[in-house]
């Protein structure tokens, strides 16, 4: 059989059953689109969190009593500074401020503006601030979500914090930081440490926790051992652990979705299996098989490409309305995230395998049935 004849028959076949093919192709495209949209979102968020985590301190030390975190005494700071290989030891004072009418909370973060910062994101914010102007009175720098929240609730450039004794502390907003760092800092407020202590009524000589870096990765285990030898009531959180738990979380959300999605795929495949009986043409088995196989492959490929393009537009051009809540959660100040396009071949391959293999596998047997139909029967 000449190649051009084969091609002509293939096109003819596709054209003749175009409405049937179109139906299958539209449904397949939608199935692929939904699947890829979820995987794209998950992939982007993972890439973004990885970027954020890089800017986080390597170690965080907390104090534990009765299984709960309590404040750390300031003396621990010097003890940690004496460990070899440790750098940018930062005392941190922070806490959640609960805004009861809306059932939302802000993350208040106290910063010693003259000290070295272990978090690179905060370091950047501190460097961009005109300290003389900022520190001239008690002010705060707020995240994007907080800024919007204040505007919506008629706080024009300030907020009245209430401390546990019932006193009202009015703090003006100095500036806000940009959208780039949105996932972690959306609901964050940065202010001088003393101001934060007065809002939460904390002791002068205590810290929430201590963050520091160990530039040499090979030393991480040694430092960990030394920390545990210092105190018995110590809890150390490493950046590795946080990265892993984030990874697990996204895997969990994406994986659960995939597992449920399996049912959809299987149902679809069953429908395909039953509906795929097409009129036989009465050629030799080999040629019909080949023809049908290529026909199916073209439909699979077209739906795959269509679906991926739809998902790409949905996620990266329109920022995935509705679906993004599945991953980001919407309980607190709403996160407005611009997804950055991260598409690798591994992901595309995954989508293709997940969709293409069951599809082709399902049509193999019906296609064979068509191929072996007697010409006599086919003409009936």
């Amino acid at each position: 059989m000449a190649n051009s004849t084969f091609l002509r028959f293939l096109l003819l076949l596709l054209y003749q059953y175009r409405s049937k093919h179109a139906g299958i192709a539209v449904i397949s495209s939608l199935i692929v689109a939904l699947l890829s949209a979820v995987l794209f979102i998950s992939q982007s968020i993972q890439a973004e969190t990885a970027l954020q985590l890089k800017a986080q301190p390597d170690f965080v030390v907390q104090r534990i009593r009765a299984g709960k975190r309590i404040d750390v005494p300031v003396e621990w700071l010097e003890e940690i500074q004496e460990i070899n290989g440790v750098s940018s030891v930062t005392p941190r004072v922070y806490g959640e401020y609960y805004f009861s009418p809306r059932e939302e909370h802000f993350l208040l973060f106290g910063v010693d503006f003259f000290d070295e910062q272990s978090s690179k994101a905060i370091e950047k914010i501190v460097q961009e601030t005109d300290l003389r102007k900022f520190l001239s009175k008690e002010q705060m720098i707020v995240g994007d979500g907080v800024k919007k929240f204040l505007q919506e609730h008629y706080y024009k450039g300030f907020y009245n914090f209430k401390n546990p004794d019932g006193e009202i502390i009015k703090v003006p907003v100095y500036s806000s930081f940009d959208k780039e760092t949105n996932i972690i800092s959306n609901d964050m407020i940065i202010m001088p440490m003393e101001l934060l202590r007065s809002i939460f009524a904390m002791d002068e000589e205590t810290l929430t926790d201590i963050a520091f870096n160990v530039p040499n990765e090979a030393e991480w285990d040694n430092v960990l051992t030394k920390l545990h030898l210092l105190h018995y009531d110590i809890r150390v959180i490493t950046k590795e652990e946080i990265t892993k738990s984030y990874h697990n979380l996204f895997n969990y959300k994406g994986g659960l979705f995939l597992a449920l999605y399996l049912i959809t795929i299987m149902t679809f495949i069953l429908i395909i299996y039953q509906r795929y009986a097409m009129v036989a043409v009465g050629w030799s088995i080999k040629d019909v098989l080949k023809l049908k196989f290529f026909e199916t492959s073209i439909i699979v490929l077209l739906s795959f490409i269509n679906g991926v393009i739809i998902a790409y537009c949905y996620v990266y051009l329109f920022d995935a309305p509705l679906l993004s809540n599945l991953f980001l959660g919407s309980e607190n100040l709403s996160n407005e995230v611009a997804f950055m396009p991260v598409v690798d071949f591994g992901l595309l391959g995954s989508i293709f395998l997940f969709f293409g293999i069951p599809f082709i596998a399902a049509v193999l047997i019906p296609v064979w049935k068509i191929a072996v139909t007697e010409p006599k029967e086919a003409m009936k």
Binding site: K244, G255, V372
Partner: protein, 322 residues
Amino acid sequence: MSEIFLSNEVLIYLLSESVIYVLILIAALLSLQLIIKWDFGSYSEIQFTLEKRAYLVMTIITFAFIVKIATLPYFAYGIDKLSDLVPGAMCASGVIGANEYGYPLLGLKIATVFISGTWIIINNLDLQSPNYPFFRIKTGLFLLIAILISIELFLDFTYFGNITTTKPVSCCSVTFGQQGGSNPLPFGLDTAKLLVLFYLFYFMTAISAIGRYAATGFVANILFLVTAYYAVVYFFGTYIYELPTHKCPFCMLQKEYYYVGYLVWASLFSGTFFGINSLPLKWFAKKDVLYTYKFSLFFNTLFVLLVSAYVLVYYLKNGVWL
């Protein structure tokens, strides 16, 4: 259920493997029936139905094997992705070694892909001739592969089910690095001798491919596969990583090295696959299958040029050897 199963890549990989396994199972049952009742001389209706069914079996198997070959690199990719989750693992090496099923699974997968490739070639030969001369050989071979794939699927699930995310595993520098000065190379070879053998075996494969000496090619390609494995891990790899202490067959699959590992291992496996297969095919078909020699020469040469280029480029850039 372990959280490993929720990793997207693992989930999709296991789904593909299961779907393919269902197909293989159908094909195996039909094959059993075929091989028992097959009589090409007969003109009965049964034989006629069987011949039709043979087409179904052939189609299913061809599709299944193509997918099998495609999922081998995907398996490596999925394992590599897991290295973020498994403590201590920096690359696929640690994850593969996470439990006792990993290495047998990997070995079995490569073996299955090799034999499946042979099956596809025999099937093509069979289709080209008018009277199914290799029918019994290929059906028998397929039943053997079906058994291997059953074991493989079992290992797939036990392997992924038994990876723990709490127990640390050893990183590739522990598995492949020199411990206590002992020599990791077999037969007390040193790097210089290994390289001499590597190029020597390569020339043997090249000569047997050009001269179409199937038996020599068979031996030469097996020897070449083994030496090439050691040469890549203990010599060429260090140039790919540009670090004399980094010895690992898996890290080169990562993005940092532009995924070159896939090309390295694919060209080596393809080259030796065709080289080794020339002999059994000649034996079955009673004639030389010419393209196996061509492909063997092409892929082996590609592989050798690729790994040698890394060494030369490094030397030209830095003016020293590692």
